[in-house]
Amino acid sequence: MSEKPFFVGYLPAPGPLRTFLLTACVLLIAGLGSAGFLMGAAQDDPGPGAFRFDYGRQTVTGVVELTPYPILHVTEGNDRIQPGDSFLMTAGGKSGVDSRAEPLAGQLAQVSGVVLERGDLYMLQLRGGRNGLQAAEGEVPEITAEPQGRWKLAGEICDGKCLAGAMRPGRGLAHKACANLCLLGDVPPIFVSTQPVLGEEFLLVTGPGGTRLPRAAYDYVAQFITAEGEITKRGDLLVWEIDVDTIEVTP
């Protein structure tokens, strides 16, 4: 039997073992580099959502409506946000603007902030305090709700802010805990439908009868589900009152 090289930790590696160890080291480093490339290059496209700081700060006026999540129906717009648009609002971080919007429900208000945009969905992250949301003078137009009937939809409940681009990606099971934390902070929930509904892919999702999304629905956030509920068109925004008892997880 031939003499096998024997490695002792504090002595130089025996000659015959050096080539083997050198090869192993090179392969290890190259393997880690290759794994980094393959894993890094396998990242899915997070979609088009993003903060649009490039648009600059947007300031518009409109009617605040609680659905119960605050919506602004724009009456005086600007180059980007047109009168007749309806959009959702959020505060900085994982917080909604409920406490600021509730005193202004049904009234005219001026809002100012940064746009979050993902396709047809957009949202305004308001500036802090009165700079972001304050009462405005003027005539308050009547906002009508147009019932669209009961619908069974398939898709995913997300938090509107991360989905709109605060995080890329901002949906999916890996994002579930973050989405729940956003929803607990009063960020409006959005339903992403697998098929367009009345021309829209994104719907604000609430509980029945104008209540908040029930806590029971939080278990299904970020999962593909089917459920039923009434759809109402408020301005150009669809609001789906989900019936939690009808939620089924799609395999």
């Binding site: 490695f7 980094g36 490339f37």
Partner: protein, 361 residues
């Protein structure tokens, strides 16, 4: 054979080892973070904090996979033993990489709310009753705690304090950590992905760990010489090589290393007093058996490390029956001297027939 505890007792091989591991980790992270976004060319790239979290998480998984492959690889081919030599350095490095991953997750997904981020981590997703949507973060937390425990107790102080058997059992937590990481990844990112390259790599990595461990276990099982009876057979007299050992497995599961040194046989425990390294795979250097893992040395006649070191391992009695070397399964207390057993003289060679003058074949 440590006589005092200092953070790391460096030697050139350790520098080389750590440099290689660091180079591999740095290359992985650099390629993931800075090279692949150029390749992907998404309109809106993955958010930097999320990409960082993914890079460090993926790197920790790959590092854990490599760590768990080194052990069985070294059992299958002794040339891999030098990679085992300072594996705990690699383990500590892995704990730091995993901690960085957790930091990015905690300070991004669980920050910016009115709740404390650690509290949010535990209550934001409470869907414990379902598989899809299960709070997979819990598995990550468990794995991270395991890795931190292993990293914190990797120093020789803990080895001495806990004793090698307890220390080694504690460090089996690495397997629990790996299973938890596998569950963490399986219930998290794997279910979200559309591109399945990561899935394939994940399965290849986990498969390599399983296959290598099975192969090493099967190899050892086939080589095991568990025998019934008071005396256990070790090997035939002619099988021994001077300076090396034959390993016997006793009925109680212990292993005995029987060495041939200068024509005499001696038996000591196969488990090194340092980290239970396989002494029987070591070699006699300067009249002392040298552990292949970390170079601890013992006199095979009494199981004692040379002064000033104090490590001791149990010794065993030997006998030769016919041409079979046998060991008694009852271990002597560590450090007990046992008179070496000389190998029997080989039988004299028969004298060749000398043809008589004038004889013909």
């Amino acid at each position: 054979m440590s006589v005092k505890y200092i953070p790391v007792q460096w030697n050139p091989n350790k520098w080389i080892y750590d440099a290689v591991m660091l180079a591999g980790v740095a290359l992985f992270l650099w390629v993931f973070l800075y090279l692949t976004p150029e390749v992907l060319s998404h309109d809106q790239p993955v958010t930097a904090q999320i990409r960082n979290a993914r890079a460090f998480g993926a790197c920790a998984f790959v590092m854990l996979t490599v760590i768990l492959c080194i052990g069985p690889a070294a059992r299958l081919d002794r040339r891999f033993l030098p990679l085992l030599y300072n594996r705990r350095h690699f383990g500590v490095m892995t704990a730091f990489v995993a901690l960085t991953h957790a930091g990015y997750i905690l300070n991004w997904y669980f920050a910016f709310s009115s709740s404390d981020k650690l509290v949010g981590l535990l209550y934001a997703n409470a869907s414990l009753g379902q598989i899809a949507g299960f709070p997979f973060e819990l598995f990550g937390i468990f794995a991270l705690i395991c890795l931190l425990i292993l990293a914190a107790t990797s120093h020789d102080f803990w080895l001495k304090f806990l004793t090698p058997p307890v220390w080694k059992r504690l460090h089996y937590l690495i397997y629990a950590a790996y299973f938890a990481v596998a569950a963490h990844v399986s219930l998290g990112i794997l279910q979200d992905q559309k591109n399945h390259v990561f899935t394939v790599l994940f399965m290849l990595g986990a498969g390599a760990v399983i296959v290598l461990h099975l192969a090493a276990w099967l190899r050892e099982r086939s080589e095991a010489a568990a025998k019934d009876g008071a005396w256990a057979e070790v090997a035939r007299v002619g099988d021994f090589r001077d300076g090396y050992a034959k390993i016997a497995k006793l009925a109680n599961g212990d292993r005995v290393a029987v060495y041939l040194m200068e024509g005499q046989l001696s038996a000591i425990s196969n488990a090194c007093a340092h980290q239970n390294g396989p002494l029987g795979e070591g070699k006699i250097i300067d009249c002392l058996v040298t552990c292949p893992w970390h170079g601890f040395q013992y006199d095979v006649r009494n199981g004692r490390s040379p002064a000033p070191f104090t490590e001791k391992v149990p010794t065993y009695r030997l006998r030769i029956m016919g041409d079979m070397v046998e060991v008694h399964p009852d271990a002597n207390p560590p450090g007990t001297y046992v008179e070496p057993v000389p190998l029997p003289e080989p039988p004299p060679e028969p004298e060749p027939d000398v043809p008589e003058d004038g004889a013909t074949a």
